[in-house]
Subunit: 633 residues, 2 copies
């Protein structure tokens, strides 16, 4: 039996089998509906209003995420609502995603929930003339009976505590940090309101997740550009800026914290959660972002051997940092491995479980900096390469960020004519990271360039000498949004891509050679990072950014840094694991490594000057082989 | 052999045996010279300038407390400088005490120095390409080798740490709190600069001590009126004020903290110590002062059964409280026993060692509130009585604080004429606490009043009916400073003294009866509290404020609350002892105690309606016995 679901205001109609969810119907109908938690009923984002038709009673998840009042008015969660009649639903604006390329979600393995904060409801014995001892002693007593020994009470909390105890008739909810410290006292039973924040501080993007620590669900997720970007596009320039003066450092820190706070605020507003009920914030980032978030002096990160200030996991009071959670709450920073392999790499490992794997795996967290991790349960090796901002569209003549009108997919035909798609299908405005990789791979495949990256195609309308040297026209101006200038790939653009991919591949090869693993042992490649999601793995392999493995062995996990942060928020065991990984992982400083130098030069060729390592690519590309000696700048 | 010491600018000369100190000479000559640490060379307050004569080289203590430059100019410490020639010394103004009655010192038993903060000098291994791990890991490693395991680094410190490590060439001094947390990193060897602050927060007075935690010496001591006094004279009115609103509470807290900070600031200025080198502040006070200092809600202290908010010892970060010591430093509050027996009583016990004593001892810490403690090593009992502000000169017609011109000692002769002394020997302005006790005791002894406290003397020029009823003229107006009004003791003044002393004695008797100790076991009486020092024990016994024991068994220990705070600052073992005492001590809430009621009524008589308990007093006073039934207010 099928029923019809009609979505308003679009008026789209779709038939689905009885027992389907409204979310399923929306997907089938192509209706834009938020789906942050993947249909688990956690995030509460897919709120719809049922206008007509019979519906089953609300599920437990709906009762939890939707107010009683709203449910009465017909509001339901599309992912929970089962279709058992012809129905008409209205999709409110706030339940729509729109098209955005700030990918902040990443794959996350299941985690046994055991957060560092817990809530317990307790009835405290009120004082009497026979027993007039201090409130703190009464609390210590009742908490001891529940297994919390020698508890401390945070100063922020202790001040107003007597009032709350009395207002609550001595029946209160305690929030315990680390099973030891009382970080909130609330009247009555408030045990269900226990939330935390996971933060991924990328060089370019910030992502904030609010997690329900009673069930582990993500109930809010949002991202924004890292406001610190005004102090420099890459890590090195940020370090330079922040090292100049204490004021600069403070400014740079404030930029990140303000950004995170604004996202948290948005989350609180949308979810109706109270700031006091956010008890922990777990943050990851590369070492520079980690340090700038904490306001640590970063000068040492700018000079060899680039030691971090803080390598171990670090905890501090929320009020000391000024993040918008309960001021008595805890901020937990994952450990850093080295100056350029930070807490985000640890988070990547936790989320991808490389350290548990039987078989050798390569993980690349592609971003402005790319962290390269090679290993399995027998050992982990790491390094960091400055892949540069090329993939973010910077330093590319017609480069742009992944936004409306960016060329994101490119195909070059036998006749060297070009097929492409743009984000949102709008007229082309420029080319973004995935587009440039596609373009270069296609130029290599069709022989527009030779293996050294030189544009060798002659006598075609798309190849010419431009103001910046030789160039290939991707989109002629009549097809662009502006209508004024052609979108081109210059010789210099190709060099930028070569440098970026060479650094990544050379990083991998250096780890391979230093670690003693054998190349034939490599059985899987994981591409992480928000940007990674958009890379065509075939093209990444053609240009030699990643080693040649069957495409089925390449997987994309998205923003695993954020996933690792959430896992640590949800589980103290995972936090322990993070510290173990940080202790065990070996770090290779590439700046001091002759092997890297050598592999970098090899990898400037496309796919590589060691052609034998890329037999399948070599068999399929038309690019002429050339002999050319690159010297690394 | 004797030498002559001449003191300028007074020009006083004195001969002392060779080998005497200049301090000894000053005492003999009656020259006003500060002597805070009792001649140990700790406080550096007795600085004098040697103008003529040969002197021995400076002692270690002098080198420590007097700058090299000053020593070259001839400045020396009078308590350290041995006379071995005729010498002339100049006493600078700042080395003079002047006459002040803010007694802040108290007896302090010796304590094995083992403070909660320690400094260690360490050479940290600098990072290298082979070993580029985090600064925190290097520090953890070197500190682990010195016995400090799994150290934490305070957030305040970690931020600037990399700079200091590098500026100090990786040779630095760490300050460890609780053997666990790094609360300062300083370049070079700074192990000698380790200081702490002990604070006694009295209802009326604040006392601040800066202690050198390398040798335990007091190097600065100063007091002031508690600025909170503007919100009420006694504890009850302060609680009332602070309970009205959160703003009031904040104001009341700020008043104390500002007062303490101003004293600390004065200390830093005088001693040249840096704020960052004050690492701990240990504070005591009665429960209300303790709570108001921390800004805790005090409403519950105003209602039976008066439970404290915090009974246990409490630690918090200096920056959270806003006291002027190293912001990463620790504030330690001694435990409170009950709503009206606070941390100051614990400090009294620690300093007087009652809990160690073989024989039963009574301790009274006399102040606006009087804490009464009875016990020995077999057990401790405590209560608190509102002795009221009578002893501070308030609620007494001609009462005044202990300041210049206050009548402080009174003798009434057989002919009822009066001999008295005033503070500073100036013409009388009023009568202070010790003067009023003397006066009432003398009136009782000579029969001016009967045992019920009624003025019964008739037909003498000093006894008359005044505006406020019957009164006794202590000083006729022609002898007063103003020359305008007689200084009198009214019938009502005598009642005030009776009420205060009755409460104290009844408190003692209640403890005696509740504890099961026997009265004949009582072998010693200790009077503590700044005011206590000025009480004539004989007169206190005559009016029945204290039980009748030989005068040799009554001792005065001064401000033992301050002493106990210093002891806890100097020793973590003593802190542990404080917690043990707080756990072991029994508290009797007098408001709920019929025994107290009964004993209070008995004690309104002078010395007491149970005359058999004061045989010696009864034998010596001329006051008529009367039968009168008092009913407690």
């Amino acid at each position: 039996m099928e029923f019809e679901v009609r979505f308003l205001p679009e008026g789209k109609r779709v038939s689905v089998p009885a027992g389907s969810t409204v979310m399923f119907a929306a997907l089938r109908a192509g209706v834009d509906l938020a789906n942050i938690c993947g249909g688990k009923g956690f995030c509460g984002k897919c709120l719809v209003e049922v206008l007509e038709g019979k519906v089953p009673p609300p599920t437990e998840q709906e009762k939890r995420r939707v107010s009683e009042e709203k449910i009465k008015k017909g509001y339901r969660l599309a992912c929970q609502l089962i279709v058992q009649d012809d129905i008409v639903v209205q999709v409110p604006d706030q339940s729509r995603v729109g098209r955005q390329r700030l990918v902040i979600m990443g794959k996350e393995p299941p985690v046994r929930l055991n957060p560092n904060v817990k809530k317990v409801y307790a009835e405290v014995m009120p004082p009497s003339l026979q027993d007039p001892k201090g409130d703190d002693l009464r609390i210590a007593k009742v908490l001891a009976s529940m297994g919390f020994d020698s508890v401390l009470i945070d100063y922020e909390i202790v001040r107003g505590m007597p009032k709350i105890l009395r207002e609550g008739g001595w029946k209160v909810t305690f929030t315990m940090l680390d099973n030891r410290e009382v970080v909130n006292v609330q009247p009555g039973d408030r045990t269900k309101e226990l939330y935390g924040v996971a933060v991924d501080i990328g060089t370019t993007k910030l992502a904030v997740f609010i997690v329900d620590l009673m069930d582990g669900g993500i109930i809010f997720a949002d991202g924004m550009m890292n406001p610190q970007i005004r102090y420099g596009e890459d890590v090195i320039s940020r370090i330079g800026y922040a090292s100049q003066s204490d004021e600069n450092l403070k400014e740079a820190q404030k930029a990140i914290i303000d950004g995170i706070n604004s996202l948290i605020e948005r989350g609180l507003k949308e979810t109706g959660i109270k700031e006091e009920d956010l008890y922990e914030l777990v943050a990851v980032g590369n070492t520079a972002m980690h340090h700038l978030f904490l306001g640590l002096h970063v000068k040492s990160l700018g000079f060899s051997p680039y030691p971090p200030v803080v390598g171990r996991a670090y905890n501090l009071k929320a009020r000391d940092l000024g993040v918008k959670i309960n001021p008595a709450g805890n901020v937990h920073m994952l450990p850093n491995v080295a100056g350029f392999v930070g807490a985000d790499a640890i988070a990547d490992i936790l989320a991808s479980r490389i350290h548990d794997r039987e078989k050798l795996t390569l993980l690349m967290d592609v971003g402005t900096n790319t962290e390269v991790i090679l290993g399995c349960k027998d050992g982990l090796w790491s390094c960091s390469t400055a892949s540069g901002p090329a993939f973010e569209g910077a330093h590319i003549k017609c480069g742009m960020r992944a936004a409306t009108g960016a060329v994101e997919k490119v195909k070059i035909k036998e006749d060297f004519e070009v097929e492409y798609t743009t984000i949102d299908g709008e007229r082309a405005r420029g080319i973004c990271g995935s587009g440039i990789i596609d373009a270069v791979a296609e130029m290599l495949r069709t022989g527009v360039v030779d293996m050294s990256g030189k544009i060798v195609l002659q006598g075609h309308r798309r190849v010419r000498d431009g103001a910046d040297g030789r160039e290939f026209v991707l989109v002629f101006k009549e097809d662009t949004a502006s209508g004024k200038e052609d979108i081109v790939i210059t010789q210099e653009d190709i060099r930028e891509v070569q440098k970026a991919k060479a650094a990544m591949y050379a990083g991998y090869m250096t780890l391979m050679r230093k670690s003693g693993f054998k190349r034939e042992e490599l059985s899987e490649i994981i591409i992480a990072g928000a940007f990674g999601n958009y890379i065509d793995p075939e093209n990444a392999r053609i240009i030699g950014m990643i080693p040649e493995l069957p495409i089925s062995k390449v997987s994309f996990l998205g923003n695993t840094a954020g996933s690792g942060a959430r896992m640590c928020l949800k589980s103290t065991e995972i936090r322990k694991e993070a510290e173990d990984v940080a202790k065990a992982i070996k770090y290779v400083e590439l700046a001091a490594e002759p092997i890297f130098e050598e592999e970098y030069v090899n990898a400037m060729y496309m796919p590589n000057s060691k052609l034998e390592d890329f037999p399948e690519v070599v068999a399929n590309v038309k690019a002429p082989r050339v002999v050319k000696r690159y010297v690394r700048r």
